[in-house]
Chain length 469, copies 2
């Protein structure tokens, strides 16, 4: 890849391991450098560590100093819909009605190249303003939307994954694509975009309810012929959707089986939601190396339910997890807001599992795994998301050799009460310890929002700066 | 009361009835004036209606024109903790642990007059920045905090209700107050503040778990001697708390009975949360004219549970409802954010009641009552909140004779995606119909936050203006 050179001095916080593996000692999974230096060459991290050490190893650096900020790896959004940028927060229904009323009509507009190109600018502007540098995105069943998505991502040099989004039933006629067309158009798009620049391609059956067995077979064939590609879909979001999936795949024992049967469940497979997956299905995800994108903003907004985070993080069968905004089911692009809602979902699960509601449901270990500390939360948004997408060799933290996408957080910005709140954790110039940094990050994720993103850098270049920052 | 004179021209939206009574025709409960004029004299609404009519009736008005804005009655926060302004969004536990770890130590600081006075400035600044002009607030068990609360409210001429907050067990020693001291100090504070300026007094037993029967008897005596005062408390927030309340009032059949037994459940009584109230308890609330403050930000943040909004709005036994931020259990002062989370809680209830999860729980009418349209939402935040607090003779909408507290909303502000989103509802200069206004308001409550509050006016004076607005 290509990228810029830069040298950034500031306070850095990143994750080096899964904090759930270090319960009670989560600091072991993180790295905090109060006065650090990040040296980037052609968009790749060439060196990283304490300023006093790293600066010795390089001469003639032009250093950009970012004081009073926390610098984290760029956020990864594991589930988002490009053609829903305009209809985020649409009124009033659960998943299936909401799709028919608001989403399909809006997505149809993306056959128009000008509309799709305009939308792509709004979309990537909104991502960057929320600190997101990588996403796994749905487009529409029109190649036009997929092309405009990749063209805009290319202009911004962002590491993205997306693909033509297949649906061949239960949507307006104009919106459907035949399995044969989906197969051939996907192949063309793969040839044109996959691993071109920072673009990566995902074979994308929208969801099993909208896909016939023939469509799923097209996906299987594509994955067999392009095993390097990703697979992106939805699973077990809403009870009525699950019932419909079961009815339309009567030969499958459960929703996950649909994907197993068609050879898709495995590495580089991500399904959004997974709220209602059984423990058995979660174990099969774990064994297959498949991932779930946890989308709490959307899951609450559409009333879909509470994802069982603590179950997914079962130490015997951990499922790879990212967090996703799921815009437009989710009502904000901000990953900070996603983490806020993820924390809340976890706390609701915590109460349901402590035995106080129903002693039969008591599971104190799982209850504890639902508690989203700042270590766990920002792991999901960075290294954990990268791991779930099989991108952790190139993204997710500040290890040398990784791509230099990062976000610069201002812990004092936001609602009127924010600055006094944060002064409880840190007085003066900024955090001196990892624990103080974690407290500020918790303040950001619970009391903050996109206003806390001061700058977003992509491949060594500043791609966003907040007005007035 | 005293207040300023002003004449405001702009686009007005308010509620004139409970929209739940007009299901399917919710517009009947609202009032929309595209080009309106609000004439205020000494802080009271003297005239209101279309500009063309109202301006004829008054000569020599100095009109303040607020174009491209939606003007609504000031928001009412039915449940908030003054001494938690700094600790909003504190990490990691359900109610009882969270109180011991974060809240009681912070609230103890409010015995210091300087600290309490500083906090009061932050607190009211944050309220106004969120568009809130009236609140029902807890203070601490120290009269100092209560005094500083009322002194700052007086300086701002805001209509507030608060009172010394009684707790005589299960908290740090320094934090407790004896029932006798609570009684005598409450009487002093009532004499000093109740109906002085716009201040109103609430007899405030913190919650039954923290109050002995003797403390509850002090409250009963206070209410008997000062029947014009309000009563403010918590109820049925968390399963473990409910168990504790039951254990410590073994002669009461349920949590509500504690308040009935001590003569408190009735008009002007508000309890926060009520998540786990039985249907029978809700009916008793309804019959007594008692109110619940629905606090979704907090209920999710502390994992307390999902308030049964649709049950509380049972047309046979409707319970008076306000919404509350419950800062610091709630993690934002913004009533717009409160409505967002209220919508989400309602949608989660909707799914649980449509029969798709468990056919035994199917109740489609109740499911529908959980859907928080913008009419219902802004009713709760304005006229509904006023009704629940028995303040609707003086607050809640733009009827003549009411107090002129109002909020000026900018529907385009907020996250990067906001303006394109709102352009789906309205192109050009602003809403021309009530339905368009309602769509913009829904956009604000789901996709916006405190940034949408451009100005807040109190008793005819501008009390807050957003930076840059």
């Amino acid at each position: 890849m290509t990228g810029a050179n830069c040298a950034i001095r500031g306070t850095f916080f990143d994750l080096i391991d899964d904090p759930w593996k270090h319960a009670g000692h989560e600091q072991e999974a993180a790295r905090f450098i109060q006065d650090g230096l990040l040296v980037v060459k052609y968009g790749i991290i060439e060196d990283f560590g304490p300023f006093a050490e790293v600066s010795q190893r390089h001469s003639g650096l032009q250093v950009t100093h970012l004081p009073n900020r926390l610098i984290l790896p760029g956020f990864i959004d594991g589930h988002i819909h490009f053609p829903q940028v305009r209809v985020l927060g649409a009124y009033g229904a659960q998943l299936l009605d909401w799709l028919q009323t608001w989403i399909f009509p809006e997505e149809l507009k993306y056959r128009d190249r000008d509309y799709a190109a305009t939308a792509a600018r709004y979309f990537f502007d909104a991502l960057l303003a929320g600190g997101t540098t990588t996403c796994l995105a749905f487009t529409t069943s029109s190649p036009v939307s997929t092309e405009e998505f990749f063209e805009e991502a290319t202009r911004r040099n962002m590491r993205v994954i997306a693909g033509l989004t297949g649906i061949d039933r239960f949507a307006p006629e104009d919106f459907l694509i035949t399995p044969a067309d989906f197969y051939s158009q996907s192949k063309e798009l793969i040839a044109r975009y996959h691993r071109q620049g920072r673009n990566l391609y995902a074979i994308t059956p929208r969801f099993a309810v909208g896909c016939t067995a023939e469509m799923m077979d097209s996906c299987r064939r594509l994955k067999q012929e392009h095993s390097d590609c990703w697979v992106n879909t939805h699973i077990s979001e809403n009870p009525s959707e699950i019932r419909s999936a079961r009815e339309h795949f009567p030969d499958c024992t459960d929703y996950t089986h649909v994907h197993e049967k068609h050879g898709l469940l495995g590495p580089k497979f991500t399904a959004g939601h997974g709220i209602w997956l059984s423990s058995d299905e979660m174990r099969r995800f774990s064994k297959a190396g498949a991932a779930i994108a946890f989308c709490p903003l959307s899951n609450l907004f559409l009333g879909s339910g509470l994802f069982r985070l603590g179950r997914a993080k079962d130490p015997e069968y951990p499922v790879r997890l990212s967090v996703g905004s799921d815009v437009g089911g989710g009502n904000a692009f901000s990953i900070v807001r996603v983490l806020e809602e993820a924390y809340k979902v976890g706390m609701c699960n915590n109460t349901m599992l402590d035995g106080s509601v129903n002693p039969r449901d008591q599971d104190l270990a799982e209850a504890d795994r639902n508690k989203l500390s700042p270590y766990r939360a920002f792991y999901l948004a960075t290294l954990g998301g990268a791991n779930s997408l099989y991108l952790d060799d190139m993204l997710g933290n500040f290890d040398k050799g990784k791509e230099a996408d990062f976000v610069v957080l201002d812990w004092m910005a936001g609602q009127a009460a924010m600055s006094w709140h944060q002064s409880l954790a840190v007085e003066g110039d900024g955090p001196e310890t990892m624990e103080q940094a974690a407290q500020l990050l918790f303040g950001i994720m619970t009391t903050g929002d996109d206003r806390n993103v001061a700058e977003t850098w992509v491949a060594g270049s500043r791609a966003y700066q907040k007005a007035g920052a």
